[in-house]
Symmetry: C2
Subunit: 208 residues, 2 copies
């Protein structure tokens, strides 16, 4: 026995490992059960269904992502803070590609259910809500007169920043290993692209 531990937590451990290595949809409940050493239906005594299992893993990861922003939030200058949040986000995506894929690259009804659950979670800990942290930083930058006239809507600017970070991570996950493209280190690309974007948005600003 590599330690009985709680069956429930062992299910989570095995599932996380299999989801990350084999991918989510090709990981079967029976395979998870085999890894835990039980039968497949036993899992349903601990989780409603495969989605609930996945959801629990994702919430954990989202929390970890949120927690990792703590350092970035201490950057005083709002524009610098936006960059630091972006880089933290990119690092998270590159470090946990499989979970990133489920969290941010998979559209479906279930993700609505997830979002509902997460939304409830985040209400309790607003300092972990990545998107709204960006909105806050952007708002601060705008109020400080750091952005140009076309970049005065915090929501839109936040979405643009998120888009930039997400785009590079997502492309890395899908295409990095493809042979027809000479894929560059996404961390460096991310740093430069965020910098370029922020510079471009600062053009024409009152307090550049």
């Amino acid at each position: 026995m590599s330690g009985p531990a709680d069956t429930r937590t062992r299910i989570l451990d095995v599932a996380r490992e299999l989801f990350a290595t084999q991918g989510i949809e090709s990981t079967t409940m029976r395979a998870i059960a085999a890894g835990v050493g039980t039968s497949a239906p036993a899992i349903y005594h601990h989780f409603a269904d495969k989605d609930a299992l996945l959801r629990e893993l994702m919430v954990t990861d989202l929390r970890r992502l949120g927690a990792s922003f703590a350092r970035a939030m201490r950057v005083p200058d709002p524009v610098d803070r936006i960059r630091e949040i972006g880089m933290t986000y990119v690092r998270f995506g590159l470090d946990h590609p499989q979970h990133y894929r489920v969290l941010f690259m998979t559209p479906n009804a279930k993700s609505a259910a997830l979002e509902a659950e997460v939304a409830r979670d985040l209400e309790a800990t607003p300092e972990m809500d990545a998107y709204h942290l960006v909105v806050q930083a952007v708002t601060a930058a705008i109020e400080a007169g750091r952005f140009g006239p076309d970049y005065q809507d915090p929501e839109r600017v936040a979405q643009i920043c998120w888009g930039m970070a997400h785009g590079l991570v997502a492309l890395d996950i899908v295409f990095a290993k493809q042979t027809w493209i000479e894929w560059r280190d996404p961390l460096i690309s991310a740093e430069r692209s965020i910098r370029a974007m922020l510079r471009g948005m600062q053009e024409g600003a009152p307090n550049r």
Copy 2:
């Protein structure tokens, strides 16, 4: 005539419709067959499997995407051309979200098979290879001294541009309908973000 047409092309038509409306994995072969008016196994007389069917649709769509760049390529200024390519790309993604998802948001072994097939295709028609069109435009801009010192690698700059466009489209597909976010019109966001990014990359350039 909604007439008989070719069974093969009718399969393609029905599949495209169902894939786009119901989503790909929740569209069953039996449903496609029902739409065509045959039995499911009949499909296998025309396509090796569901992937082959999907692949054929994707190749068609990629061709259409490639063709839509023709207009953008006539823009003389290389920096303006990059922006126009980007906007064309974004419009394509927003117009065909389901196919975009399969083409650019789905990592798996099959997509490697697809890419191999597409690569062969594109060798014959290089003017349709979206990525290399961007690389060309970027190279032209760099040679004209339009970009700053950190933006002299055409591959990296092309990947940054692609990332920006892809990010907004991908976020739109996954999160636009979510309630916890006030999602802005992605076309406008795309125009402004590409503009900001290009401006930022031009900073410190010899021929700004």
